[in-house]
């Protein structure tokens, strides 16, 4: 007896068809479909799931999210900053010079500075929770899925990518639900381009310094660039080393619901608290290490070019010369390999106390707006943090792919920033 004679080559499809046939028979006998009432969901989906309007509508909503984040968080940022400036001035009066400097410059100057960005992170999470709880984010996955499938990519990848807006780690782990090794790999390799919450403080600091009233738009553009780069990179992988056909997938679209304030606050808290935990542990240790590096060898001016942190920055600075980054920025980027918040933290330590305004003034004095935008793009695209590298290793089970991920992200970040500088030059900005 040969199975092939009966079932042909696609036995799984033949059997699946038989099951669906049985299902429709059962349903026919037990279900009456009456007049369908037009629901709110139908009306909203006419817009949000529309072939042409769906994706632009998402980007427009995202823009509104950043306007809200900026406006709502500004007063809170000011308050937190005042608190740390005050603590820092108190600490500076401690008679022991080393303790005073560690507390004033390292802990309150570095860690305190990053903590003032708790406000935009929480407000962003609040806004995204509203979108998620309303049932809208599932629609976003759906419209991008259609686009990606047309491009030959696995549509299911966009859900992990959306999760990446919060933190890349769970997003990379969520790629497990994707069928097929190649599709899973493509997703794992592209998720890191999705802008996670840790990158937000960097954007807020730089955009606030250079782009004034367009700051929210500049931050928004990072999220858009992240999505575009992720899709382009996925396409490149699909056409070269990870060839294959995508499998269609079905996604359940929940009906729209009015999000509850309490529900969204709870959601925001769950996500935001992980940032606070990180601040209390890794970023605190980071601040101490950065401070040590900024005052050694003992006796040099803290955070100057003669300190260890200065030497690291100055050694690598020529590599970043074409991008217009000074050594202060270069050393902050080196430390940010561990976690992106360290860009802000190390700038806080290097430029010393004085809060956001004085650090922004120092940045404006040392780099051009085009380089500043390039810095945002670089921060967006290069390795998100050491923990993501670990998760990529765990999920791919291969050092080869992990190394590939790290190197490709570095290369894309550098090329992306270079492209910005080049375009900026062509367009006559400097």
């Amino acid at each position: 007896m040969k199975a092939k004679k009966v079932l042909g080559d696609d036995a799984d499809i033949v059997l699946a068809d038989a099951r669906y046939e049985q299902i429709s028979k059962i349903i026919e006998a037990s279900l009456v479909k009456g007049e369908r009432k037009r629901t709110v969901t139908d009306v909203l989906d006419k817009v949000f799931l529309n072939k042409y309007v769906g994706i632009p509508a998402f980007f427009a909503l995202l823009w509104a999210v950043f306007q809200f984040t900026f406006e709502a968080s500004a007063p809170f940022m000011g308050l937190i900053e005042m608190l740390f400036a005050w603590l820092s001035s108190l600490a500076a009066q401690i008679p022991n010079e080393v303790v005073a400097s560690l507390l004033a410059d390292g802990i309150f100057g570095g860690l305190g500075f990053i903590l003032s960005f708790t406000a935009p992170i929480f407000f962003l999470f609040f806004a995204l929770s509203l979108l998620e709880d309303s049932g809208y984010l599932a629609r976003v996955a759906f419209v991008f899925d259609k686009l990606m499938f047309k491009l030959g990519l696995h549509g299911r990848s966009f859900i992990p990518m959306l999760l990446g807006f919060g933190c890349n780690l769970p997003a990379i782990m969520a790629a497990r639900s994707i069928e097929g090794k190649k599709d899973r790999l493509i997703t794992i390799l592209t998720v890191p381009f999705m802008s996670c919450a840790a990158r937000l403080p960097v954007y807020v600091l730089i955009a606030g310094a250079f782009f004034a009233s367009h700051a929210a738009t500049a931050v928004w553009s990072m999220y858009v660039i992240g999505i575009v780069v992720a899709i382009l990179f996925a396409l490149l992988l699909r056409k070269t080393i990870l060839k294959g056909e995508p499998a269609p997938f079905i996604i359940e679209l929940p009906t729209y619901k009015m999000p509850t304030l309490w529900g969204s606050v709870l959601h925001m808290w769950e996500r935001g608290v992980s940032f606070l935990k990180k601040a209390g542990t890794y970023l605190l240790v980071g601040a101490i290490i950065l401070w040590v590096l900024s005052v050694l060898p003992w006796g040099v001016e803290a955070g100057s070019g003669d300190s260890l942190i200065g030497l690291i920055g100055q050694t690598l600075q020529p590599l970043f010369g074409p991008l217009g980054f000074n050594w202060q920025i270069v050393s902050s980027l080196v430390f940010a390999f561990l976690a992106k918040e360290l860009v802000v933290e190390s700038l806080g330590v290097i430029y010393g106390v004085g809060g956001e305004a004085s650090i922004q003034a120092a940045l404006v004095a040392s780099i051009t707006p085009v380089s500043a935008f390039a810095l945002m793009v670089f921060t967006l695209l290069y390795v998100p943090c050491l923990a993501t590298v670990g998760v990529i290793k765990k999920e791919t089970g291969s050092w080869k792919w992990t190394l590939f991920a790290v190197l490709s992200e570095m290369a894309i970040a550098y090329l992306g920033a270079l492209l910005i500088v080049g375009l900026g030059g062509l367009l006559g900005f400097s």
Binding site: L7, L15, I23
Partner: protein, 213 residues
């Protein structure tokens, strides 16, 4: 005796990749629940589907609670079919019946239950409707396993292929305790990776592969 009931809840992909456990007691009977990744199918190709499937095969839960969107039966009953094929004790929960009503659907639950050969409970989970009935039904279904006839019979030729494979599989003494044989035979016909791997290491591998390969 303490029966353990395990819950299976559908979800949109990306949310539950791993199983979660919890427990509660109803009418003094402690029940253990396991929330499996929500899927529409049970193939060996996707990791979340495999997690759910292996759990059911290996742990042999007393009951699988299959929670589906009542407003979308065509799509959701596919998983129910697969669960029945896996020879599990299934309780079907038609959730979101409010939405189905809004869409103008009238579901004859008794008829559906009889056709599928399993108990069915209707709920609106967001409003807590039907939850008390669900708990009763879980307890009852977990304690009294109904032996049902096959919910799905394929056409004669396929059925005789399945019977032929089952006859071969029965000869391997290790298999019947581990796998529902009819299910394993169907998966072999589908060239399911996991089933083929089982076939290759079995004592009757040559006979099996002769049919399937």
């Amino acid at each position: 005796m303490v029966p353990g009931a395990r819950q299976h809840v559908g979800n949109w992909p990306g949310k539950t990749v791993e199983k979660k456990e919890g427990s509660f007691s109803h009418k003094g009977v402690p029940l253990k629940l396991v929330d499996l990744p929500g899927t529409y199918s049970l193939t060996a190709a996707a990791e979340d589907e495999l997690v759910s499937r292996n759990f059911i095969i290996e742990e042999k839960p007393d009951l699988v609670v299959d929670v589906v969107d009542a407003s979308n039966l065509e799509r959701n009953l596919y998983l129910t079919m697969l669960l029945l094929e896996l020879d599990t004790n299934v309780l079907l929960v038609l959730n979101m019946t409010d939405l189905a009503k809004e869409k103008g659907y009238k579901i004859n639950i008794d008829n559906l239950s009889q056709k599928l050969g399993i108990p069915i409970i209707a709920t609106v989970a967001t409003k807590g409707k039907g939850i008390a009935e669900l708990k009763d039904a879980i307890l009852k279904a977990a304690q009294t396993r109904i032996t049902k006839k096959n919910a799905l019979n394929y056409d004669k030729q396929i059925e005789s292929l399945i019977d032929y494979l089952v006859a071969i599989l029965t000869k391997d003494k290790n298999l019947p305790a581990k796998y529902p044989l009819r299910w394993l035979a169907i998966k072999l016909l589908e060239k399911d990776e996991q089933a083929l791997a089982v076939a290759k290491t079995s004592a009757v591998s040559r006979e099996l592969l002769e049919v399937v390969a």
